[in-house]
């Protein structure tokens, strides 16, 4: 339980950064922190004490493998989620660069004049 709470602290820091900061790169960093902590949380849920990695080796006992193997399902879904995170980060970075080219600033309160 202490591991879960420490993990949620990282996510809370990312949420605070996303809401309260005005710099666009700070907002992107907050988004990235939330993403990392959520991926880590899903893997933490699937962990077993004294677990084995879910890869079957030839000399391995099948019964022991199914008793002690960690959960492969969150690992597979987090694998897709990490790569999607890279794609959305590239999209956010592209928007930030375009905004800087147009307004010459990263301050969100300066970019409020979004018209025409």
């Amino acid at each position: 339980m202490i591991v879960y709470i420490l993990n949620v602290i990282i996510m809370a820091l990312g949420l605070y950064c996303l809401i309260a900061k005005r710099h666009i790169i700070k907002k992107i960093i907050g988004m990235v922190l939330i993403e990392y902590s959520m991926n880590l949380f899903l893997i933490l849920i699937g962990y077993r004490i004294n677990g084995l990695a879910p890869i079957l080796l030839p000399e391995m006992n099948r019964v022991q493998f199914s008793q002690y193997g960690v959960d492969p399902l969150p690992q597979a879904l987090v694998l897709t989620s990490i790569v999607i995170g890279l794609g959305t980060l590239a999209l956010m970075a592209a928007y930030a660069m375009k905004l800087y080219e147009k307004y010459r600033t990263f301050d969100m309160s300066e970019i409020r004049r979004l018209r025409g």
């Binding site: 602290i9 710099h23 922190l33 991926n39 492969p72 897709t80 970075a93 592209a94």
Partner: protein, 185 residues
């Protein structure tokens, strides 16, 4: 368990630096501490596939973030403190942490997962799919449509980034094109 707590405290320190420091390049590097810490955690949590993927993705995202940071002049913009945004942020974060604590009370303890579906994957995955790596069996056989949707999402986001970053839509007209169309000088 103690190892996990040590790495998580290091990651919390890195994220505090990333949130609060004024210099943007330092903030990006501090976010990199969190990413590589997550990768080490994956390795100790018996998830080697994800650890490899996380290292590669972290390197690429650091390159992207440093690119947009060094693009701009690096001045601090926090001239006046926005009290309203700080208060709203703290209220939301407090509500979120309280809700998480309330939800963690009902969860099973760390290290004893509920594995109703995954137990079948572990015990019968080799016969049903022929893959020795159960993660590969899940993403390529049991949940292959999910992987297809993921590929669509990545394709769309990279296409969007490409379209936004393209500075000129078409190539400029040359003199030869002018003559061909017949526009007078």
């Amino acid at each position: 368990m103690a190892l996990f707590i040590v790495i998580l405290i290091l990651m919390i320190a890195g994220s505090v630096v990333a949130v609060e420091i004024k210099n943007m390049l330092s903030a990006v590097i501090a976010a990199g501490i969190v990413g590589f810490g997550v990768s080490v955690m994956f390795l100790f949590l018996k998830a080697p596939d994800i650890a490899i993927t996380q290292v590669i993705v972290e390197v690429l995202s650091l390159i992207i973030l440093i690119r947009i940071t060094t693009n701009a002049d690096n001045e601090a913009i926090e001239k006046k403190i926005d009290n309203f945004a700080n208060i709203v942020g703290l209220i939301f974060v407090g509500l979120f942490v309280a809700f998480c604590f309330w939800a963690f009370v009902d969860m099973t303890a760390f290290g004893t997962p509920i594995m109703r579906v995954s137990q079948h994957y572990l015990s019968a995955g080799l016969e049903e799919t022929g893959a020795a790596n159960m993660v590969a069996a899940v993403i390529l056989d049991y949940r292959a449509y999910d992987t297809l949707g993921e590929a669509v999402v990545i394709f769309t986001s990279i296409l969007g980034a490409f379209v936004i970053l393209r500075s000129r839509g078409k190539k400029k007209l040359t003199e030869k094109d002018m003559e061909k169309v017949g526009i007078p000088e």
